[in-house]
Symmetry: C2
Subunit: 212 residues, 2 copies
């Protein structure tokens, strides 16, 4: 387990460097984490179009640049990181992506992590806040089953609430589970396809939290 600790310590140091680099530019970064297919990219496409914030995006995927193409089509600059067999972004990858991206002063950077509710929990990227996107199709027990990731989140967006009537998901049970695992996390209900709750999400972004 020594090796793992060394890896995490090195990552924490590089994440602190990223945090300094971002602060020097007045840039706020959000680390978006979720299961595969929870709707992070759809949310970002819409956010780029509607939130009225100057924003750029770092896309993390095992393979393909599909999400980067989608973000560019929505009107924002984006760079892709492919992790190969890796299950998460790390601070070193993000440092290089930030240099490539060269975000303008006082802008927002969205970092879309690899779809994974386990690995990204341990790796600080230097972000101001972790945003966990969960969807109602995944079941209301997920905070209990993936406690590390839910504990690390500053904001939980419960997405796909347009599908609520079609799935066995109890929103009160989900909220209670989240409170038990992480009482400090904010929770917003959204539908990235239909638009529900996005005003509150854009408000959260405009408040620009400044520490992780």
């Amino acid at each position: 387990m020594k090796v793992e600790q060394d890896v995490l310590q090195k990552n924490d140091r590089l994440a602190a460097e990223n945090r300094g680099w971002l602060r020097a530019r007045g840039v706020t970064a959000f680390n978006l984490v979720s299961s595969p297919g929870s709707g992070k990219t759809t949310l970002l496409e819409r956010t780029v179009r509607e939130a009225g914030l100057p924003a750029t995006v770092i896309e993390g995927d095992q393979a393909t640049d599909r999400d980067t193409q989608r973000i560019r089509a929505a009107g924002a600059r984006a760079v892709q990181i492919n992790t190969g067999a890796g299950c998460h972004l790390d601070a070193h990858m993000v440092a290089h992506a930030l240099e490539d991206l060269d975000p303008e002063r006082d802008s927002t950077v969205f970092i879309e992590n690899v779809g994974n509710l386990v690995c990204p929990a341990l790796f600080d990227l230097g972000e101001s806040a972790k945003v966990l996107v969960a969807s109602v199709t995944e079941g209301d027990d997920k905070p209990y089953k993936y406690p590390h990731m839910f504990r690390a989140a500053n904001l939980v967006l419960l997405n796909k609430i347009d599908l609520l009537e079609h799935v066995p998901f109890d929103a009160d049970r989900f909220a209670a589970a989240l409170r038990e695992v992480n009482p400090r996390a904010r929770l917003l209900h959204v539908s990235a396809t239909r638009g529900d709750g996005l005003g509150a999400w854009y408000g959260f972004l405009r408040d620009r939290p400044t520490s992780a």
Copy 2:
């Protein structure tokens, strides 16, 4: 990367031992992998009740024994493995769980892996086949974006097809993506809640594939 190779080599050796242990008892093991919330446990509850196979279950989760409780309530013996911060089961954990489970001769063992489309791809557990459960709510691009896991699968169950009319999912595009990434994988459409396609799944299980 030397450490990682050593870990994988050790795992492969222990997986081979598991395979021998299972073969000596005539037991067929299936390794079920998916994103969080794709419906593996719901599928297993129903399979335990309906498939007419003597079966036991090994449940893998970061935390809680919720899924084990659900399987026991459905009528099968089950043991829980909690991986803590870990993102997958490994052959060593499964070896211990098999000793605890003590499956009867010529029975079936289902191993429900941690919900994760990345890490379990690399870790052989000694199973006869990997079954990947994908759901229509996750999007039709997933084989491209998680190629290691889709390439490792012997069978892909496309689950939640009862929700197909409510989500932007193109089943033909998904099938084409899967064929491109893994032409050998079989694909079945199922709904673990409504029952669609489960006859074909039970048929696959009764055919008892004997090698990974």
